[in-house]
């Protein structure tokens, strides 16, 4: 490691800790002859667990083909009447996840949705789309989805027809209505749906005895509570990073884990393009290494429980140290700040941050993440107020959410259930048995409830404890409406009739209230008609959301509430996290959210953006912490929190906070389905209702056993020799510099990738016609993985399973190379998306004995799958190693329903053939054909690849390099452009734009977090 620190100044990237570490058994592993031979699947197909059950699931041939919803749904682009078979049509809709809204545009082909993209007209998405909405497609076609009503008698489930189920429920509900809801409790997911709110209101009025609870294992309740304190009523905190020049994030992952993450990312990225003027500066204070942390110009890693102290320290520095004046009425927080200042010292970064914030009043932003307690949020609200940011970079809109926080709600419900006061429990979605706090023993309580209904997509852990399980309609099958974070009204229209006749929660509620199950369409329609500004129904569906924003009454800060909260927080005894008192932080899983997506193979095999882990989660340790605790990558340790125990694998992550351990929620499912069962470790087992976000007092006990973690980078060992070489080499691979360097030498990238003049042995033919090319901006690529999923969905890329990934056989056409740089405890991070770069002089082509890969007339490097013999010579000769080989037939044993997801424009690849990125040739051809039909040239920016389309930050630009006016040409010939491995003279068509960082000159650190010289 010392070597790392020495050549710290160089832009030396290394990729993970196996490389840095040199422990003995690692060396033995390296030197052993053929250590642990790769496992041979006796039957390759059945070995891949996710296929076992998919294969076992019943044949669903009858389902293949069109299922048009009865209600009229209105296409986005073309007229509703007259469906032309074989043509893709796109519909606007929305997806709601725990109250957060993603506005979408879904491509439907002959009645089956095949691609989910962001709604370009909607300000929240602007065309971009997150992982969950895109992967929702696979969930829709998941063969493990529940298809029947189940009634549990004596613990044994019996199938019931939907009719019987409905009748039984209706009868029971009638009785409940007679009792005015006495003994009834409803447990629901969080939702922003006005329809849902209306039904809930009716329930409150018509069944006054009934109790309503809302629970989300991962929520932003702390923020909601804080706004309650600060404004006297719950408010939604709306941030606008695009308007901020200085961002100070405290445990806040604005770019990924936020209701408006996509817009945040877009705004942030727009502020990073130095060509377009100034560059914003991002400070991040956090415990785990988040996506936002990876983009930070200055990142401070500290335990989550100590972050409140940091923000109070900052406040003290601003107010006491730098004389930032508080508005009248707030002076009484001063004692608290003085108390903090007296207690702790102010580190250098705090001063620099304070200076920056003061210098950018009104265009800075202090953001606090959902894991921080309410008073910290209140302090942030106060700071933004006094810095003049309120109304500029942050505003506070009304919040429909009412009542208890989710933690309190589930705890209260548990208590009432414990008292036996709940005879009937209706669970609308959610999976509390899996994800409720462990101390509540929700499953045990649920068994004691006489009448329990669970409406859910899968027969999951909770269904197994309920009397009745009712199949739920998937969001792509449902009518629904939402109010997004800005308060905008939007309607979700189904893309396909419910495959298994599932119900929506609203429908079940209407059954409960009215005795008849009114179709969701009618319910939503009724709300929409009442909704001001919703406008004409068809126009609303066509557009996907209401044009007009509702009028909101401005939020008024309630000084007393603020002062009280800040004093409470400031005077509180600070948490002392350390070797003797480790903290455990519960992190939302970037791929599985709270675990509800565990059965989604796309998400399971999606490499985590930092750890590159697939099919697993792991306990994340900092480098020096791991060293101090003597645990190593892959060790199985027992995490002890109070009397709770959990065994989990160790992943040593550079840049993770000291004495802090992060464990993501959602893995370790037992009834998720064939894909999700038994992956990773169940963090919920350690989560108590007293500490939902971070808990102190963690003990880590080594078990001496180890666990194979499958990662898409470093799924092999890196010895010291390789590590040194990587440091030397990576300098020219991921070129990065500071804003200052860029100002001085705008062409510094060219110098970093210096190479001798390139000469070809033969006369190259001039490019005629199109010359498609791409640029990827490393300054704005945040590494969010959206492009990877988009590529997988667009190009029918199979999932290969954990074993195959561990052997190095993943099939993703687009991979995100992640490089750490510098000091293992405070590294800089860079992401580099690498797919086929479509070389002009492609080395893969000349070695193919059967002409299976060659250049087409557009100069694309194309693969003829049915021509490929599978010598793998092309892959050997590809310097970028972007070609992917079908080692087995990864498309066999796919249940018919699962096949509905395939994109008909893209060939399925069989066993034994090579595949790779095609620049989405099918999209190129579609555009060319349209242009030809309309007798016009193809316009610049008209061809949009799947990865480019979904990129939240527009880091990817695609176009015609033969058109001197095209954006891609301008960027390729611009300052920051450089070609990967240009010295090989293969003339790649994909160019990268060097990454820029904007460190604070005050801090004696360079962009890479190293002492400047």
């Amino acid at each position: 490691m010392s070597s790392m620190n020495q050549n710290g100044l160089d832009h030396n990237y290394w990729r993970s800790l196996q490389e840095l570490s040199d422990e003995p058994e690692f060396r033995r592993f390296l030197e052993g002859e053929f250590p642990e031979p790769a496992e041979v699947p006796t039957d390759a197909m059945s070995r891949r667990r996710f296929l076992q059950v998919m294969g076992a699931s019943v044949a669903m041939a009858s389902l293949v083909g069109c299922r048009w919803p009865q209600e009229t749904i209105v296409p986005f682009a073309s007229r509703p009447e007259g469906v032309t078979p074989g043509t893709a049509r796109r519909y606007a809709t929305v997806m709601e996840l725990a109250g957060a809204v993603s506005p979408l545009l879904v491509t439907s082909f002959d009645g089956r949705p095949i691609k989910v993209e962001g709604n370009p007209d909607h300000p929240l998405s602007q065309g971009a789309c997150d992982l969950f909405a895109q992967a929702g497609l696979l969930e829709l076609y998941d063969p493990d989805r529940s298809r029947h009503v189940l009634e549990r008698e004596g613990g044994r489930p019996r199938r019931r027809s939907l009719g019987d189920g409905e009748a039984a429920a209706a009868a029971a509900f009638t009785a409940l209505r007679a009792r005015r809801g006495a003994g009834l409790a409803v447990l629901s997911e969080a939702s922003s749906s006005p329809t849902f709110a209306a039904l809930r209101g009716r329930l409150r009025d018509e069944l006054p005895e009934a109790a309503w609870y809302e629970y989300e294992p991962v929520s932003r309740d702390n923020e909601r509570l804080a706004t309650g304190l600060a404004f006297g009523e719950a408010r939604r905190v709306r941030v606008d990073p695009g308007a901020a020049r200085v961002l100070a994030c405290f445990d806040a992952d604005l770019l990924l884990d936020h209701p408006t993450a996509l817009r945040n990312a877009r705004g942030f990225a727009n502020g990073r393009r130095a060509e377009d003027g100034e560059m914003n500066r991002l400070y991040v204070v956090e415990s785990d290494l988040s996506l936002t942390g990876g983009m930070a110009d200055h990142r401070v890693a500290m335990p989550s429980l100590e972050i409140p102290r940091a923000l109070y320290g900052l406040a003290a520095e601003l107010v006491l140290g730098r004389g930032l004046s508080l508005p009248p009425g707030y002076e009484s927080v001063l004692p608290a700040l003085e108390h903090v200042r007296a207690a702790g010292h102010a580190p250098a970064w705090m001063g620099a941050m304070a200076g920056d914030l003061l210098a950018h009043r009104g265009e800075s932003l202090v953001a606090v993440g959902p894991r921080q307690p309410d008073h910290v949020h209140v302090l942030a609200i106060l700071l933004n107020e006094v810095l003049g940011n309120t109304g500029r970079t942050v505003t506070y809109g009304p919040d429909d959410q009412r009542g208890l926080s989710h933690g309190a709600a589930i705890a209260t419900l548990a208590v009432t259930m414990g008292k036996g006061q709940v005879q009937s429990l209706v669970i609308l979605g959610g999976n509390p048995v899996h994800d409720a706090p462990a101390d509540l023993d929700f499953g045990g309580l649920l068994d004691r409830v006489a009448e329990s209904w669970h409406l859910s997509l899968f027969v999951d852990e909770t269904s197994q404890h309920c009397r009745w399980h009712l199949p739920r309609a998937h969001w792509l099958e449902s009518w629904h409406d939402v109010r997004d974070h800005d308060g905008r009204y939007a309607v979700a229209q189904p893309l396909i009739a419910p495959l298994y006749d599932g119900w929506t929660p609203a429908e079940l509620l209407s059954l409960l209230l009215d005795g008849v199950r009114r179709p969701a369409h009618d319910l939503v329609r009724a709300t929409a008609d009442r909704e001001p500004g919703a406008g004409d129904w068809e126009a609303l569906l066509h557009r996907g959301f209401a044009a007009a924003l509702p009028v909101e009454k401005a939020a008024a800060l309630d000084g007393r509430g603020v002062v009280a909260a800040v004093r409470r927080g400031g005077m509180a005894k600070p948490a002392e996290v350390g070797r003797e008192n480790l903290e455990l932080v519960f992190v939302r899983d970037p791929s599985l959210h709270d675990g509800r997506f565990a059965n989604n193979a796309w998400l399971q095999e999606l490499p985590d953006f930092m750890t590159k882990l697939v099919w697993d989660n792991a306990a994340l340790f900092g480098v020096s912490t791991a060293a101090a605790l003597d645990v190593a990558h892959g060790d199985v340790v027992e995490l002890q929190l109070g009397e709770r125990r959990l065994e989990a694998a160790v992943y040593v992550l550079p840049g993770h906070a000291p004495w802090s351990v992060s464990l993501s929620l959602g893995h370790g499912r037992t009834a998720a389905g064939g894909v999700g069962n038994g992956t990773g470790f169940r963090a919920y087992a350690l989560r108590n209702s007293s500490a939902l976000d971070a808990a102190a007092g963690l003990k880590v006990v080594r078990t001496g056993r180890s666990h194979r973690l499958a990662t898409t980078q470093d799924h092999h060992a890196i010895d010291a020799v390789g590590m040194r070489e990587r440091e030397k080499r990576s300098r020219s691979l991921v070129v990065s510099g500071t804003l200052a360097e860029y100002r001085e030498h705008p062409d510094f990238a060219a110098h970093r990738t210096h190479h001798p003049p390139l000469v070809s042995l033969w006369k190259e033919r001039p490019r005629e016609g199109f010359a498609w090319g791409m640029t990827i901006d490393l300054s704005t690529c945040i590494g969010c993985n959206a492009c990877v999923v988009a590529c997988q969905a667009e190009n029918n890329i199979p999932v290969v399973g954990k074993d195959q990934v561990a052997k190095g056989r993943e099939l993703h056409w687009l991979r995100l190379d992640r490089y750490f740089q510098g000091d293992p405890d405070a590294p800089a991070v860079a992401h580099q998306p690498v797919a086929c770069v479509h070389c002009e002089l492609a080395p893969c082509e000349q070695v193919c004995p059967v002409n299976a890969t060659m250049h087409n007339e557009d100069g694309l490097n194309v693969m003829a799958y049915n021509r490929c013999v599978g010598t793998r010579y092309c892959s050997n000769n590809c310097p970028y190693k972007v070609r992917r080989f079908n080692w087995f037939n990864f498309n066999s044993d796919i249940p018919d329903v699962r096949k509905l997801v395939y994109n008909p424009e893209v060939t399925l690849r069989s066993r034994g053939v090579m595949e790779k990125c095609t620049y989405c040739v099918q999209r190129i051809e579609t555009v060319k054909i349209d242009a030809k039909n309309e007798g016009r040239p193809v316009r610049d920016g008209e061809v949009v690849t799947a990865c480019q389309q979904t990129c939240p930050t527009q880091a990817i630009v695609f176009g015609d390099l033969n058109d001197p006016q095209s954006r891609v040409t301008k960027l390729t010939t611009g300052d920051r452009a450089y070609h990967l491995l240009a010295e090989l003279n293969v003339k790649p068509r994909t160019a990268f734009l060097a990454r820029l960082r904007n460190p604070n000159p005050e801090l004696a650190e360079s962009a890479d977090g190293h002492p400047a010289h």
Binding site: W762, L841, A842, N851, H855
Partner: protein
């Protein structure tokens, strides 16, 4: 004036124990002007060709033709297949480049030369010929291991039954015997 050979007689076979005796004898048979005769040895004897007055074979010329055929065929095939019949842009390279086609051209040249050599040699030798009168002789079975033979065919214009037999015996043969046809 010579009387025709007795019917069914293929010729006379003279056996020698030592190679050098055979060479001497062969030279004499040659000088005697016989034309339809031959020597049979377990291994090629140096000087015997000369002693028998055998002229160089035309085999090399046939091989040359074979080789040239291979060469041109290879060049034409590669040009036609990659540059003419189904041209592709591969690695931005010219459709037909000489350096790239050298290996296959060389191999095909050698292959056709070798095949010509093999088949032409057996062809010129009129082999395979699994039945031959000489195989009727019990002695002759040693011709492939340790004995040396001269055979004069009855069809030879100079062949005169007994005379020829005595002539052969006079050459120092260990044994002379008639061979039935």
């Amino acid at each position: 004036m010579a009387t025709r050979a007795t019917h069914g007689l293929y010729g006379y076979l003279a056996e020698f124990r030592e190679p050098w005796d055979l060479i001497d004898a062969a030279a004499k048979v040659r000088d005697a002007g016989y034309t339809r005769w031959d020597c049979h040895t377990p291994f090629p004897l140096h000087g015997l060709d000369h002693a028998m007055g055998i002229r160089g074979t035309r085999l090399p010329w046939l091989v040359l033709c074979g080789g040239l055929t291979g060469l041109t065929a290879a060049l034409l095939m590669q040009w036609w297949m990659n540059a003419h019949d189904y041209p592709y842009l591969i690695s931005g390279k010219p459709l037909f480049g000489l350096p790239a086609v050298v290996p296959v051209t060389f191999e095909l040249t050698v292959l056709l030369s070798a095949l010509t050599t093999f088949f032409a040699m057996w062809g010129l030798n009129l082999l395979p010929q699994h039945h031959h009168p000489l195989f009727n002789s019990e002695r002759f079975r040693r011709a492939t291991s340790d004995r040396f033979f001269i055979s004069i065919e009855a069809r030879d214009p100079l062949f005169q039954g007994e005379r020829t037999r005595e002539f052969l015996a006079g050459l120092g043969a260990d044994a002379v015997e008639p061979v039935e046809d």
